[in-house]
């Protein structure tokens, strides 16, 4: 599968992956700018307001009804941070014209609709409609507070605070209740105007008529003039080994541990990191799974995740309070084993083979293809077809993984301690 890059307009770049493999077309439209913590609450609400209404479809149900008419055009608008980069994204999926009646020109209708959603919002007196903003504000505040109902999310959010310390980019894209309350119809409109100044990147995977698609994009999307060069990789501070604890109502404790890793932001090393992570904690054949769950029965799930942009790794497990110290020790021990080269041939082969499969499988899903292209773009690297990624992976030796493991350092742990009775 090849990616075709087209500079369609100044500040509008198109990344096309034409394929007949899928029955739907996947698309991401990204307005890319630089993170401005002062705008986060506005952009978070703006995503909700634009998703729910526009001049032609003022009510949420009218938006939804039109999406249904478009054979359940599925779209989502959200705002994401990648360190200094702020990606205001409309991601969507629609049924390929081949499976629809001949006279149903879905591509035209989809782009007309996106135009309505983005460029013709519901305004009143030079700002967003205050009633709409009020409802969204209340809804979003409730949703933000609901994040704390999940112990996994609560832990990650607090861990993020500890990891990033006073770092300028620690600011979460999930605004707080206080920040959301400060948003006004006017501030929202100002944030909207700033958003329209951003350049646009569009990623499309599926079967389409390229010429027609380009025409639709030029007709319906207008990139701004602002050009930013945000930094995407940030070195996390390594302050001290520290443990934090919070007691909450949950019936099971949640342990999170943060490790700093060597640089994992170039393609070659990235694969070593993926392999290290697979053997250490990401799969159900990992050392953590085998020892903490299977041997000691301390948890039902345990896993580790790489955070590439900040060169870190997070281990998470739902455990019983009484096993806290033991679990931490077991995690250390597994890392130590990897650094000492105690990686069996079976573990290494399973890691390599599983990653190869994952790379190949990423081409079976339109969304994964887009994510893969975007992940490479972040690193200024071309999209590597799975076969080439597999070839890269095959060059990695056990010694590379051991070298990587030696560079992994424990930094913080966070225990969300259970209080509730079972």
């Amino acid at each position: 599968m090849q990616v075709k890059t087209i500079a369609l307009l100044p500040n509008l770049t198109l990344y096309l992956v034409p394929t007949e493999k899928f029955k739907t077309v996947e698309m991401n439209i990204i307005f890319k700018g630089k993170v401005d913590p002062k705008l986060d609450a506005d952009l978070m609400l703006l995503a909700e307001v634009l998703s729910d209404s526009c001049r032609r479809y003022p009510k949420k149900r009218e938006v939804e009804a039109y999406c249904d008419f478009l054979y359940r055009f599925s779209f989502r608008i959200n705002n994401e941070h990648q360190m200094e980069s702020d990606n205001f994204t409309l991601s969507c999926n629609f049924i390929s014209p081949r499976y629809l009646p001949d006279d149903f020109d879905i591509v035209d209708k989809v782009f007309e609709f996106i135009h309505e959603i983005i460029y013709r919002p519901l305004l009143k007196d030079g700002a967003f409609d205050s009633e709409v903003v009020k409802i969204q504000q209340q809804k979003t505040i409730t949703l933000v507070n609901q994040f704390n109902d999940s112990k996994e999310y609560y832990s990650l959010l607090h861990l993020n605070d500890y990891i990033n310390g006073e770092h300028p980019y620690k600011h979460s894209m999930i605004a707080s209740e206080e920040e959301l309350k400060k948003v006004t119809p006017q501030s929202l409109y100002a944030a909207y105007l700033k958003l329209l100044e951003r350049p646009i990147s569009i990623f499309i995977v599926g079967k389409f008529n390229e010429l027609h698609l380009n025409r639709m994009i030029i007709k319906h999307l207008r990139p701004g003039n602002e050009v930013t060069t945000p930094r995407l990789f940030v070195e996390l501070p390594y302050n001290k080994m520290a443990r934090y604890e919070v007691t909450k109502h949950f019936k099971q404790s949640q342990l999170s541990m943060v490790f700093l890793t060597p640089d994992i932001n170039t393609s070659r090393v990235d694969n070593v990191a993926l392999l290290f992570n697979y053997i250490f904690g990401s799969g159900s054949t990992s050392k953590l799974f085998k020892v903490v769950r299977e041997e000691h029965n301390y948890c039902y799930t345990i896993n580790s995740q790489l955070r590439t942009l900040s060169n870190s790794l997070v281990v998470s497990a739902g455990i019983d309070d009484k096993n806290y110290e033991d679990t931490i020790l077991l995690v250390y021990k597994q890392l130590d084993k990897m650094a000492k080269g105690e990686i069996s041939d079976e573990e290494f082969t399973a890691g390599v083979e599983s990653l190869k499969s994952q790379f190949m499988a990423s081409e079976d899903n339109g969304r994964s293809i887009i994510v893969s292209i975007m992940n490479n773009l972040v690193r200024d690297l071309p999209y590597l077809p799975p076969q080439e990624r597999v070839a890269e992976l095959e060059k990695i030796s056990k010694a590379d993984v051991v070298r990587f493991a030696k560079g992994v350092r424990f930094s913080y742990s966070f225990l969300l301690r259970q209080r509730g009775e079972k």
């Binding site: 007949e20 493999k21 899928f22 029955k23 739907t24 009510k59 949420k60 149900r61 009218e62 939804e64 009804a65 999406c67 249904d68 008419f69 054979y71 359940r72 049924i95 499976y99 409802i135 209340q138 809804k139 409730t142 949703l143 507070n145 609901q146 109902d149 999940s150 112990k151 109502h249 019936k251 099971q252 799969g283 159900s284 054949t285 299977e294 029965n297 301390y298 948890c299 039902y300 799930t301 739902g318 455990i319 019983d320 079976e346 082969t349 399973a350 390599v352 083979e353 599983s354 990653l355 190869k356 499969s357 190949m360 499988a361 081409e363 079976d364 899903n365 799975p386 509730g420 079972k422």
Partner: protein, 429 residues
């Protein structure tokens, strides 16, 4: 080998019944890199209260045995199944539902070896008393994890309120006590009975050579010893038409109140043609979408009035011997929400234009499912056990008329309702 081509969606299903009774289906996807193979048995938590004729004596099995068995089957005699798949670069997992247990793997190569293993490890149980005891702690950890998930608590509370005797009111995994009471003998008896090939199906979706694949499976299955299926007797449960409890609530430290409203219906007669039942269930889903879905008037009204936080979730909840409609939302105003649902259920407040839109959405959901090899395999096996071929749904959806959906509203003439709610509890600092 049977072959069915579905022209409108450009999909083919091949099927065959093996000599031992195992049903095999293949849906080829030539352009894909990966393959999912899934082995399923009609054994879930609803079959838990069963007496099995095992080695000449009757044996009563515990609740949660289906789920327990799912955990232990992964411990195959040649090594942990997950490791064996991992060595092939494949990913394997399993899940237990109310009436099925499903094992599957996903991989991009060595598919034949993967299918081979799938056929073997589900057939042979390799457990010891020690391994059963060890697994209990892991399962209890899993059950505790669900206690921290408000959505699980909400559904469980609802089913307890709707049903008085039916097994559906109990957790799929059982309680901690039931898990602790599970014995090696129960697992062996349940396996010998419900993992019989006649009770199972194998579905393969993805990039495979169909002829070679069938040939291989046929040869493999012929080497299996022929064993008779144990006789078993499901506990006969009489479930009253009335709900068990009309209203109950619990308090949890959550941000926003959750309300679930259930309407209990008479279950489908067992003699009903599965195709008729399937069409009826699609109509049912469309009716709920039209009255309570995100493009309904009611949903918009309740959001604007600040009654609900997020869109209403309304779905059918049915299977063998149970049938209900479940409607839930995160709410600001419980009373108003309950009142609004009561006023709207059973009404026909949608136009034929809205119906056509809903049909578009239903077709799109069906097409999207065809793209996801794993989702398609699961959907296929669920429908197959219910006597339906999922790929036929495209034509079924197209055949549904506005009048069908209007007529369906009559289901709600008898309003047999239960409510369960989780109220936010002030957290102790």
């Amino acid at each position: 080998m049977g072959k069915y081509y579905y022209h409108s969606i450009d999909e083919v299903v091949y099927s065959e019944t093996c000599s031992n009774g195992l049903q095999v289906f293949i849906i080829p996807k030539a352009n894909y890199n990966g393959v999912t193979a899934l082995m399923a048995t009609k054994f879930g938590s609803l079959q838990s209260k069963t007496t099995i004729d095992y080695q000449g004596h009757p044996l009563c099995i515990e609740r949660g045995v289906a789920h327990f068995l799912e955990h232990r089957i992964f411990d195959y005699k040649k090594g942990p199944v997950i490791d064996l798949y991992s060595a092939m670069g494949s990913y394997a997992n399993a899940f237990t539902s109310y009436d099925k247990t499903v094992f599957y793997f996903y991989g991009t190569k060595k598919i034949q070896t993967g299918i081979d293993l799938l056929l073997d490890f589900t057939r042979e149980l390799n457990v010891s008393k020690e391994s059963v005891e060890k697994e209990k702690e892991i399962i209890i950890n899993e059950l505790n994890m669900y206690l921290d998930q408000p959505e699980s608590v909400l559904l469980h509370g609802m089913l307890m309120n709707l049903y008085k005797n039916h097994e559906i009111r109990y957790d799929i995994g059982g309680t901690e006590q039931e898990v602790r009471a599970t014995s090696l003998e129960m697992l062996e008896a349940a396996h010998a009975t419900f993992y019989h090939p006649k009770n199972m199906a194998l579905i393969i979706v993805g990039n495979v050579n169909v002829t070679e694949c069938f040939h291989y499976i046929r040869e493999k299955v012929q080497t299996f010893p022929v064993v008779a299926q144990n006789k078993y007797q499901l506990e006969q449960i009489v479930e009253p038409n009335e709900v068990n409890c009309e209203y109950s609530s619990v308090e949890l430290p959550i941000a926003c109140q959750k309300v679930m409203i259930g309407y209990k219906h008479l279950p489908y007669p067992p003699t009903l043609d599965p195709k008729v039942r399937n069409k009826n269930e699609i109509i049912w889903s469309m009716y709920l979408e039209l009255v309570f879905g995100s493009s309904s008037k009611l949903n918009q009204k309740l959001l604007e009035k600040g009654v609900i936080v997020s869109p209403i979730d309304a779905s059918k909840f049915c299977g063998e011997n149970y049938s209900s409609t479940i409607i839930s939302a995160d709410v600001y105003n419980e009373e108003e929400f309950i009142k609004a649902i009561a006023e709207n259920i059973g009404t026909v407040n949608f136009s034929s234009v809205a119906f056509e839109r809903c049909k578009h959405a239903e077709i799109a959901a069906f097409i999207r499912n065809l793209e996801d090899v794993q989702g398609l395999a699961v959907n296929f096996v669920y429908n197959f056990f219910d006597g339906v071929i999922a790929l036929e749904d495209y034509d079924v959806i197209n055949s549904i008329t506005y009048e069908d959906v209007v007529k369906f509203a009559e289901l709600y003439k008898i309003k047999n309702r239960a409510i369960f709610t989780i109220k936010p509890k002030e957290q102790v600092k």
